[in-house]
């Protein structure tokens, strides 16, 4: 187990380092001079040189990279060229919005996807299965931003059930926050729900026809306990990975969802920083995203070992 953990941690560090190089190189390939952006179009050559030295842009590339890496490790991501605010502060202010939104969306997707997936597998060949399958195909085929437009048009403005935009922190007022985040979360989670449902159905069908399920039934286990305790538990392994893999898509989705519903989140920060060529913010944003992805993947791998002990054995010192 310890060896498994250490090797997975090592892999994560390599991924992060690679990502930091890609980010650093990629951001520098963007056109536009950040010193010029910070000093203003009318700056004198001397003022420009001073700003450049101040930002460390006159140093060799590898020095710049080393600086970027060491200060990032110590939690300093620099300051926004545009507003002068520390990047960590900007991220700290916007990340919670997106985390709440994504968490809500993933929870909705899991609950909906698992429940409908199990129903489709257990009620095989009935109208219920056909309906669930149709719904999941639709969920995969509907673009989230269009769903968002329709939701605003009919549910928020038409029926007035939900606010069309704005954000309330769950820490301040949980109920109002839930009210504000419901439509965005449904819009963001719809695609993931469809993916979870399809995978759950497929794995459940496979597991329900497996020998151990027949054995359990023969030994007198009730149908519901077989479905829930054996088949569902084993199906969860695949579903958990899938949800982990959906994260990258979820972040891209959050950018659009936040834009449509006017949420002041991480996605908005990403879009704003790229449009205004705010190098330090772009770097910080992408590093945070990569870190989140790596940590979640690690968590997924650890969850496996809880859900399926065989992985622990083969990953260990055998």
């Amino acid at each position: 187990m310890a060896r498994f953990l250490i090797s997975r941690l090592g892999q994560s560090v390599v991924t992060l380092l690679l990502a930091s190089v890609v980010v650093f190189a990629g951001v520098r390939a963007l056109p536009g001079d950040p010193a010029l952006a910070a000093a203003g179009e009318e700056a004198t050559p001397e003022a420009l040189a001073a700003v450049r030295a101040d930002l460390g842009l006159d140093q060799p590339v590898w020095v710049q990279y080393w600086r970027f890496l060491t200060s990032a490790l110590s939690g300093d991501l620099g300051t926004s060229v545009r507003t002068g605010t520390p990047v960590t502060e900007l991220i700290g202010a916007t990340l919670p919005v997106t985390l709440w939104l994504s968490l809500y969306a993933v929870l909705l997707a899991l609950v909906l996807g698992l429940a409908t997936g199990v129903v489709a597998a257990v009620r095989r060949g009935t109208w219920a299965e056909a309906g669930v399958n149709g719904l999941s195909l639709l969920g995969l085929s509907v673009p989230s931003f269009w769903l968002g437009l329709l939701a605003i048009l009919y549910l928020a403005v038409g029926l007035g059930w939900f606010p069309a935009s704005g954000y309330v922190s769950p820490a301040e007022d949980p109920l109002r926050a839930l009210h504000h985040l419901t439509l965005p979360a449904v819009v963001l989670g719809a695609g993931t729900a469809a993916v979870v449902m399809r995978q759950t159905r497929a794995s459940m069908l496979q597991n329900l026809s497996a020998d151990y399920v027949r054995t359990a039934r023969a030994k007198g286990a009730s149908r519901s306990s077989v479905v829930l305790r054996f088949a569902l538990r084993n199906s969860l392994v695949v579903v958990v990975t899938l949800v982990g893999l959906q994260l990258g898509g979820l972040i891209s989705g959050a950018v659009v969802t936040e834009r449509i519903f006017g949420l002041p989140g991480f996605g908005k920060l990403t879009l704003d920083s790229v449009f205004s060529r705010d190098y330090p913010v772009i770097e910080g944003v992408v590093l945070v995203v990569t870190l989140a992805y790596v940590v979640i993947n690690l968590a997924v791998d650890l969850l496996y070992t809880v859900l399926d002990p065989r992985i622990r054995v083969s990953g260990g010192a055998r």
């Binding site: 991924t15 890609v22 536009g32 509907v142 673009p143 269009w146 891209s252 790229v274 944003v285 995203v289």
Partner: protein, 298 residues
Amino acid sequence: MSSPTTAGPAAADRLEVDLGSSRGRVLRRLLRDRSGLAGTVLVALVVLAALLAPLLAPHPPTQVHFETPFQVPRTVGFWLGTDDLGRDVLSRILYGLRASLQVGVLAVVLSVVVGTPLGLAAGYWRGLDVVVSRLTDVVLAFPFLVLAVGLAAIRGASLGNAALALGVAHVPQVIRVVRAETLRLRGSEYVLAARSMDASGVRVLATHVLPNAVPSIVVQATVIVPAVVIGEALLSFLGLGIQPPTPSLGIMLSDAQQYIFRAPTAALFPGLAIVLVCLAFNLFGDALRDALDHGGNR
């Protein structure tokens, strides 16, 4: 109901004949399935509509009719209504479909051409696997929107750059599928036989592994198309993809958002068009996967 023979040269070798007859079996199985038939017909219709857009569209897609803005659907001459500039919504959807599929095909070709060799190599040589898998992780971790936005910033927003970003974003999926197929096939008897006869790795991959991985690659490609169509619409919606006045379903939606309360149907039809395209390819891809899974050529 004889199997359709492939129109290959007369000197087609045995392998090609085998592939041909199994292809016929797969096709028959695909069309016998109800959703497979629906998917195939829908995909054919969508592709035809996009190809024949210049013939089918009642108006040029960028022609403005200032005297008739915001026409409701079923107006004579404008069957799906007009937008704020009086442009015909139906004509714009047909041309938008064309652009969507163009991006779809470009991105799929790119991801398959880049991803297949990488997937084969990663599955065959264990040393390379570590490198390719780490790189795949990095690309997966990178939100494709950041990539697309970066590309748009460096090279300008355009159809080609949207296709490039979307193609790169889907390379990891192709790598994973091809790698898994290679891992499965490299232990098979005929690969072991070829290796025992001193066939080089490249030769084994090209003649024994790749042909058998083709069905999985095709299925993966049909799954990528709808994702790319949605991605293109999303980029154009944000102003990072196709640029006006070229019609695109994403631009139509972003325009419609501005006057959504005045003319809700302007947001309805382009969205429905996207759903239709994606539904068609998803249905087709699912049915194709099932048709191939039932032992077509295994």
